[in-house]
Amino acid sequence: MVKGHSIKVYVPRDSTALSLGADRTAKAIQEEADKRGVEIQLIRNGSRGLFWLEPFVEIETDNGRVAFAPVRPKDVSSLFDADFLNAKKHPLNLGLTEELAWLKKQQRLTFARVGITDPVSLDDYIAHDGYKGLKNALSMSCEDIVKAVTDSGLRGRGGAAFPTGIKWNTVLGATGEQKYIVCNADEGDSGTYSDRMIMEDDPFVLIEGMTIAGVAVGATQGYIYLRSEYPHALHILNEAIEKANAAGYLGDDIGGSGKVFHVEVRRAAGAYVCGEETSLLESLEGKRGLVRFKPPLPAIEGLFGKPTVVNNVISLATIPIILDKGAQYYADYGMGRSRGTLPIQLAGNIKQGGLVELAFGTTLRELLYDFGGGSATGKPIRAVQVGGPLGAYLPESQFDAPVDYEAFTALWAVLGHGGIVAFDDTVDMAKMARYAFEFCAIESCGKCTPCRIGATRGVEVMDKITSGKDHKNNIQVLRDLSDTMLNGSLCALGGMTPYPVISALNHFGEDFGLDKKLNEKESAP
């Protein structure tokens, strides 16, 4: 039992892996190894994102890592019997992880390290190309860093798809002694978990991205506004920040450059609207999360009235690879004006749910069937909601749409944060439309009338429609109300709740008691 020869065994510590019992699996493996007098090195890595196979255990071999999945505590004894530590034959042996088609077909740039490294090991991060982007950035002028981000074509991955470099340039040009970098980690959209994965599985990449942003625009303080539903992310981020501080990657002299940057995590408190950037800033200031009027833009008057970059987790976590490999390397991926890759999250009624990072341009059908393997229940997929609770429902006839911001806009749909929730043919789309209003009513900040009142009226109108009361007129009221919310709301919560509602009505009118053919004729958006 020589320590140097102990075999590395990887058991993920990502929340989804834990939700399927990864801690119990890890414990069982360690206990069995102890019982048999075998020395192993148990590493709690992030998840590879093949969530239907969690707990996804890997063994390091000379040829690369070999996967065994899903491993439950009851499997552990038979795995040792079969000498799985030497990657021998076993029903759960999936072969080399890197050769799994599901992973091999992906283009992982932002998620390059996710599932491979120990999330809280700074050494591991650096050994896998970590902090190369910051090193380059520290040798560049502020203008050149911002130019690289602009040239990469990166657009805000939180959902709004605003060019990141243009936002940074505004903050760079703004005058003020204090500027801020705010990371929007209030990932509240159903069907999304890529922010959570970055924070739990590769937190240093987010910290590095924020640091580069700070160096680029002259901000010395960063805040991560983290939703309270993610306790594991909180602990992991705080541990990573502490390590980055201790190693001089954060603090008063970043990498010996003399530049200052600090990061602090602030927990949110369960208000969906605080994912909207101005509401988020109010919340960070210690106020109710009421949406602000724009202008002024947060880039000019943001947190505490100072120039502020507000970016999503994925946007910031993509900065290091752009600064490491160059703007062109990133821009070479993608299509049209959607450059680079999008970490797509397969969710809902899907057989093989998980994280698929691909260049823009892939189709929903490829994602749902080639990667997703169809529905979990085995029934036909009838609808998908893309982009969270404010995203449109798409019918099967639109599954060949390419994943591209403009292509989705043309369909009166949104890509948002890249979450795809699949529904089988048992779904009642009128019920989903009602739920969209219900959710908006629960989460409305109350500042503007179309959202505050409209959401409640929407629930009532839906109830009238489904009970058949004055049906034709109420369908018209539903359209009118949606039009008011769409055009009259202050932010996307009220302004986009009509997307799921009207798309459901247009594509699945039969669930609203409409004649299918007649509805198709009347409903061009």
Partner: protein, 159 residues
């Protein structure tokens, strides 16, 4: 029901207030610290908080009631949050919600008769590839059914 704070709890709250009174935007972290420590935000401490942070009592009340996470009454020994969002609905969470309520004999925002479990709705736990999901205290559980939830609840209730 009127809850009267013990002097121990008041002392803890005063210490949190002291630690956060000079923090920029400190109301949010202060309230988290209080709720993490004693389980809820007692309305009777609003005046102390408002005085220390130079806010009105109305502003503190407005803040606490704006955010779903904060509560002004004690909860059970454990908190079970059931996800109601679309991804979980696609995997039958609506029926699961009803079954859990029937099994525990409580509606949302209520606590079981034995004081063990408070049931709360939640809108996404970020576990959407393995719906339906629930969170029991700080742990998420994926691909759950009623039997699994009953098992989890009984494990924590007896522990």
């Amino acid at each position: 029901m009127v809850h009267t704070l013990s002097t121990v709890d008041l002392g803890k709250i005063d210490a949190h207030i002291l630690a956060h009174k000079r923090v920029l935007g400190g109301l949010m972290p202060l309230l988290h610290a209080v709720q993490d420590d004693i389980g809820y935000i007692p309305e009777e401490v609003y005046p102390r908080i408002s005085k220390a942070l130079a806010l009105s009592v109305a502003e503190v009340h407005g803040f606490v009631t704006f955010y779903h996470h904060f509560r002004t009454h004690p909860v059970g020994n454990h908190v079970l949050q059931v996800c109601r969002a679309e991804s979980c609905q696609a995997m039958g969470s609506e029926k699961l919600e009803a079954d859990i309520k029937a099994k525990l004999g409580v509606d949302y925002h209520e606590t079981t008769a034995d004081g063990e479990v408070t049931l709360l709705p939640v809108y996404c736990l970020g576990n959407c590839a393995c719906s339906p999901a629930v969170m029991l205290d700080e742990e998420v559980y994926g691909r759950v059914d009623l039997a699994r939830i009953a098992e989890l609840v009984s494990e924590v209730s007896n522990g």
